[in-house]
């Protein structure tokens, strides 16, 4: 079961793909139990920074991550990757349910991480309810996940991540391919996680960032890699951004 939310703190984190610097010495604080939006134009390194948090870059030997990354008191660089990823969930931009049933998609990782078989149905139901999907799938849990709509598949992927009851949840533009109704359901789910899960949300949808996030971190592309140019409470960041470029970006003039 979850140990409760933990803050995500990054200090001077750089992400390099070979010789190319995607993120340059970024500082970021996502307070425990709070939704923090990570915004910025394409190419500013938002997703690269997000994947550094749960060490997904470990899978690609061409990527180098430096700096200090912490989940609460845990030094993320020193934690075993697989165990770490059960504490930091990740939902991708494009839903990728496994080719198995709806129920198995939610219980697969639980079983792999040793959850007692007797707990699986209850935990799956809880996760599906949190992802606002239970009412739609409760009578067809054994149907293939591929039979769900795109929006439902994304909520299934959200439920799959929530089933592990992570302390922090990372989302990489989770609604970019979804219709307004599915987007609203996911936003409701995220709002329901406040207080229980630390959420770091990458989004190009600035209105969405304002609807759900309490804090905002802004990344801006630069020749030497994306840099954090502003961070703070979301209303302050949007109403009094630290740079002219950000102000133009928020007004829709750039980006």
């Amino acid at each position: 079961m979850s140990a409760g939310p933990s803050a995500v703190e990054l200090r001077a984190v750089s992400v390099r793909y070979g010789d190319h610097v995607a993120v340059d010495r970024a500082d970021l604080v996502a307070p425990a139990g709070v939704i923090t939006a990570l915004v910025g134009p394409s190419g500013s390194g938002k997703s690269s920074l997000l994947f550094a948090v749960n060490r997904l870059h470990d899978l690609d030997r061409s990527v180098t991550v430096t700096g200090d990354l912490r989940l609460g008191a845990l030094d993320l660089a020193k934690a075993p990757g697989d165990a770490l990823r059960t504490r930091i969930g990740l939902v991708f931009q494009r839903p990728a349910p496994f080719p198995m049933s709806i129920l198995e998609n939610v219980t697969f990782a639980l079983r792999a991480h040793g959850a007692p078989r007797s707990e699986l149905p209850g935990r799956a139901e809880h996760a599906l309810r949190r992802a606002a999907l239970w009412d739609e799938v409760q009578d067809r849990l054994t149907r293939p996940a591929a039979s769900l709509s795109g929006g439902q598949q994304q909520r299934l992927c959200l439920a799959r991540a929530l089933a592990l009851e992570p302390e922090a949840l990372l989302l990489d533009e989770p609604c970019s391919a979804l219709d307004p109704r599915s987007t609203a359901l996911i936003e409701d789910t995220l709002l329901g996680l406040r207080g229980s899960t630390t959420v770091l949300l990458v989004t190009h949808n600035l209105a969405q960032a304002r609807r759900v996030a309490s804090r905002c971190v802004c990344l801006w592309p630069a020749p030497g890699g994306g840099r954090v140019t502003d961070a703070g409470p979301i209303d302050r960041v949007f109403e009094a951004p630290a740079t002219r470029e950000l102000a133009d970006y928020f007004r829709g003039a750039t980006g």
């Binding site: 165990a83 059960t86 991708f92 990728a96 198995m100 792999a112 799959r160």
Partner: protein, 276 residues
């Protein structure tokens, strides 16, 4: 000529190619069918040959073919799949030469494998002409192609599954066994069936390793004459054996069509299963 006219002309010209290919295949089937069909009857499939194959049936050849098919596929499958999994999922680098070597081995004429099998299995290991030596040799022959096809099947599985598995902290072997291999299973099954087709059609390897005995093999170390070798013997070395060679070829043709049709249908069946 208008763009639409050019499109129509290109369609017609390109359409000729598959029709010509189909006609060539049809020519073979009709030729073999006309010569062989009158000889094919129930006894032909259940009796042993007599008079050097001019009469009687091909039951021992069917048995020998089944032996080498089971030994060949059964032997090639585990290491082939393991090698493909390693190349597709675990190899970090430096495997280019391995792939080149596999491609070269896949392109070697089967007679080369036959010579190797005779020297290694029949003589060095002392198996003699036997279905075991034939099956093991043909396993080595189909292994390179099987590895490359299975590797391609695994590589074709969406990368999103791997990323999603990693994001859930799933051990790689677990993701492999429960997601990647099932997702690749239709293409792996197709590779298996295509490899089986190659075994069925092979003659040179078995001439060198399994022998040409017309008796039914009752054990691994007994010789046997596979269908393709029987066709060769009847057509080349038995005067008046042409009709029986055509009849045997017809049976072999039906077997190969059945296995390659399986290659086309099995993936769809497995896709339905893995999606469920």
């Amino acid at each position: 000529m208008t763009p639409a006219g050019r499109d129509r002309l290109a369609g017609v010209l390109l359409g000729v190619a598959p029709v010509a290919a189909l006609m060539l295949v049809a020519l073979v089937v009709v030729g073999v069918g006309l010569d062989g069909a009158p000889e094919v009857h129930a006894a032909f499939l259940t009796e042993a040959p007599t008079q050097a194959g001019r009469s009687g049936g091909i039951a021992p050849m069917l048995a020998a073919t089944a032996w080498v098919l089971v030994i060949g596929i059964g032997t090639a499958l585990p290491p082939g799949l393991a090698a493909a999994v390693y190349l597709a999922e675990f190899a970090q680098g430096g495997t280019r030469m391995v792939r080149v070597a596999l491609d070269v081995l896949a392109a070697l004429p089967s007679v080369v494998y036959g010579l190797f099998g005779m020297a290694f299995f029949c003589e060095l290991l002392g198996f003699g002409w036997s279905v075991l030596a034939g099956g093991l040799t043909v396993a080595i022959m189909i292994l390179p192609l099987f590895v490359r096809l299975c590797e391609a099947a695994l590589v074709a599985v969406p990368a999103d599954y791997r990323a999603a598995g990693a994001a859930l902290g799933l051990p790689r072997w677990r993701l492999l066994g429960r997601v990647l291999l099932p997702a690749a299973s239709p293409s792996i099954a197709a590779a298996l069936v295509l490899a089986s087709g190659r075994v069925l059609a092979e003659s040179a390897v078995f001439l060198f390793t399994a022998g040409a005995s017309t008796r039914t093999p009752h054990g691994l170390l007994e010789p046997g004459r596979v269908l393709a070798v029987h066709i060769y013997q009847l057509a080349v070395e038995v005067p008046g054996g042409g009709a029986r060679a055509a009849a045997t070829a017809l049976v072999l043709l039906v077997g190969i069509v059945a296995t390659t049709s399986g290659a086309a249908l099995l993936p769809q069946l497995l896709l339905r299963r893995t999606a469920a």
